[in-house]
């Protein structure tokens, strides 16, 4: 792994997730002359200005032209550079979706898309700036690794893992500050492996992005108030998804709730459901997320509340699912 983190846990509460990405990028830039950064008039918003200052010859602002940014990055990667592209998730996944699909994924290009302002994190900007479909879209692209980090340290780990793993990456991060889930970067991040944030046997919450912290808070509350042992998995890698952790959750807790700041069609919940169904084992299952609608306008936390993907919504969902009359047949275990 390249370099080492130069800020502390205290810094991670004073730096937004994108700023932490910006620092990680500078660190990569210092260690690796082939790393270049591109943006589409969002250097300030995506916090890659430090890289621009330190490496002006390796920084390219292509103007408001996301398709062009993708294509240029593909050409650069073909010539041996390692481009990090930063723009808002809604534009990288949809406006330039075909370039991501064809130029980066089809050619299996070693380029890393850092998609900021994901989910409803740019809440007040409205649906033109919410990215509620990007996981569904990007997850379907062959060769692409898709990551939705839970907080700043996880973003750092994801960015480093992306550098160290050849091929195209799509890392979706939030605008602004994320609640701090991890005290430092050394918590055992591994690409494609869920992090068990809370152990439990009654039910498993599988979450990604900003919903992981909310799920963790819900689990702590439910333990104290309802006596429930709720497992919380931080499923940071949406693709390739950690099938083993999902099947383990099915067999050990038999109740699963997925939570994501994304439509429930095609994202984390769908990815988990695919694994559950293919495992041949039924389990009580609920997908929390955006229920096939455009999200309201507002502060991120207010939208999460309205959508039922904050800790309150998760607590309610857990209580509902615990009440479900989930039948196990007699030979349930034998079928595994």
């Amino acid at each position: 792994m390249a370099g080492s983190l130069t800020y502390t846990a205290i810094d991670s509460t004073s730096l937004s997730t994108a700023e932490i990405y910006g620092q990680a990028l500078v660190e990569l830039g210092r260690a690796h002359p082939e790393v270049v950064a591109l943006t589409a008039d969002l250097a300030k918003s995506t916090k890659i200005g430090d890289f621009q200052k330190e490496f002006p010859d390796r920084f390219f602002n292509v103007g408001i032209a996301e398709q062009d940014m993708m294509g240029i990055a593909a050409g650069m990667a073909k010539a041996g550079l390692v481009p990090f592209l930063s723009s808002f998730s809604v534009f990288t996944s949809l406006r330039a979706g075909e370039q991501l699909h064809t130029d980066l994924c089809y050619q299996n290009i070693n380029a890393k898309v850092i998609a900021t302002h994901s989910g409803t994190s740019f809440g007040q900007a409205g649906s033109t700036h919410h990215a509620i479909c990007d996981l569904a879209v990007t997850r379907s692209f062959p060769n692409l690794t898709v990551i939705c980090p839970a907080d700043g340290y996880e973003t750092y780990n994801a960015v480093m893992a992306a550098y160290n793993t050849p091929g195209p990456f799509y890392i979706r991060i939030n605008r602004g500050f994320d609640r701090v889930l991890y005290k430092d970067k050394d918590y055992g991040f591994e690409l494609g492996k869920a992090v068990t944030v809370n152990e439990g046997t009654d039910l498993t919450i599988i979450a990604c992005g900003s919903c992981v912290f909310q799920a963790w808070e819900a689990a702590k509350f439910l333990e104290v108030n309802d006596g429930l042992k709720v497992r919380v998995l931080d499923m940071h890698t949406i693709k390739p998804i950690d099938k083993e952790a999902i099947i383990k959750a099915v067999t050990e807790t038999r109740r699963i709730i997925t939570v994501e700041d994304h439509t429930v069609i095609g994202g984390l919940g769908s990815a988990v459901a695919e694994v559950v169904v293919e495992a041949g084992k039924g389990c009580a299952f609920r997908k929390l997320g955006i229920q096939d609608q455009f999200a309201p306008i507002g502060l991120h936390e207010d939208i999460m509340n309205a959508l039922g993907i904050d800790s309150n919504g998760i607590i309610n969902a857990v209580r509902d699912v615990m009440k479900m009359d989930f039948e196990e047949d007699d030979d349930w275990d034998d079928e595994m």
């Binding site: 398709q67 062009d68 050409g75 010539a79």
Partner: protein, 290 residues
């Protein structure tokens, strides 16, 4: 480096051979994008046999010149060029467009040796070529990047994003061409979606524009020489005014030959036409060579 008569004759011979191989490939495949393949064959010949610095035994040589065929559907012309050059076994051409082949209509850079970028979706080549050109600058390398667009393709807005960026970044190590054969699938370009004043558009986007006879090998060489000697800070855009189906009389200028099938009878006619076309080209060299 002006074109000598011997060089010109050699290039005409090569262009003739490659047109024949393109016709053969279309015949083996049963059908193909032969019209737009023939229109750009003179440029492909000139690039691969006069200008591109490549190593047959080291296809991924980091310092090689790059070429991006943005009009990826001309793969039926490009595949013969790459096989003839030695990058791929010419026997592969007999599998072109067939199930299980490494060569589909649009060549895949991960399957066909010598292809610098997988194209086919239009409007992607110029941005990618620009990326290669900018990478050369970052890496301190002096290779050139060449890119060929189709004219119908220029309806795609991404080309104009890239033109703006090429000019903005002063990417003079990028040399661009448009195969202006005037045809697209549904008709003449000016009937489907007006491109004119085409040269003015590129100039307005900051390119140094030349408009030449794109089926005249001498003119192509002169324009590339000028582009290579370019001391302005504007990237070169060379508009190749060409004829769709150049060399095969019954296809020439006919937009319906964007994609067509070749049966035995048509093959014989086409072959005879190519031979006549070659003889006319040789006569032109005799007349015009310095």
């Amino acid at each position: 480096m002006s074109l000598t008569k011997a060089e010109w004759l050699a290039l005409e011979k090569k262009a003739y051979e490659l047109r024949t191989l393109c016709l053969d490939t279309t015949s083996w495949a049963g059908s193909g994008h032969i019209g737009g393949g023939m229109s750009c064959m003179d440029l492909l010949t000139v690039l691969y046999h006069k200008y591109l610095h490549l190593r047959v035994d080291e296809p991924n040589w980091p310092d090689r010149d790059r070429f991006v065929l943005s009009k990826g559907h001309a793969g039926i012309a490009y595949a013969p060029v790459l096989c003839d050059y030695g990058f791929n076994d010419p026997e592969m051409l007999k599998t072109f467009n067939l199930s299980g082949s490494k060569m589909g209509i649009h060549l895949d850079a991960n399957k066909v040796v010598g292809v610098d970028a997988s194209t086919g979706s239009l409007g992607h080549g110029l941005p990618m070529a620009l990326g290669m050109a900018l990478a050369a600058r970052v890496q301190g390398k002096d290779y050139k990047t060449y890119v060929l667009l189709g004219d119908g393709e220029c309806d795609e807005g991404s080309n104009w994003e890239a033109a703006m960026a090429a000019s903005n970044f002063k990417a003079t190590n990028l040399i661009s061409f448009v195969d202006r054969n005037g045809c697209m699938i549904d008709g003449k370009t000016e009937d489907v979606m007006k491109l004119e004043p085409f040269a003015d558009k590129w100039a307005a986007f900051g390119m140094e524009v030349r408009s030449i006879d794109g089926n005249n090998i001498k003119e192509i060489c002169d324009a590339i020489d000028e582009a290579l000697a370019n001391e302005s800070d504007k990237p070169f855009m060379i508009i190749l005014n060409t004829v769709k189906g150049e060399g095969i009389d019954f296809m020439e200028g006919d937009y319906t030959w964007h994609y067509g099938a070749i049966n035995e009878e048509k093959y014989a006619d086409a072959k005879a036409s190519l031979e006549k076309h070659y003889q006319k080209r040789l006569a032109r060299v005799e007349k015009e060579a310095e």
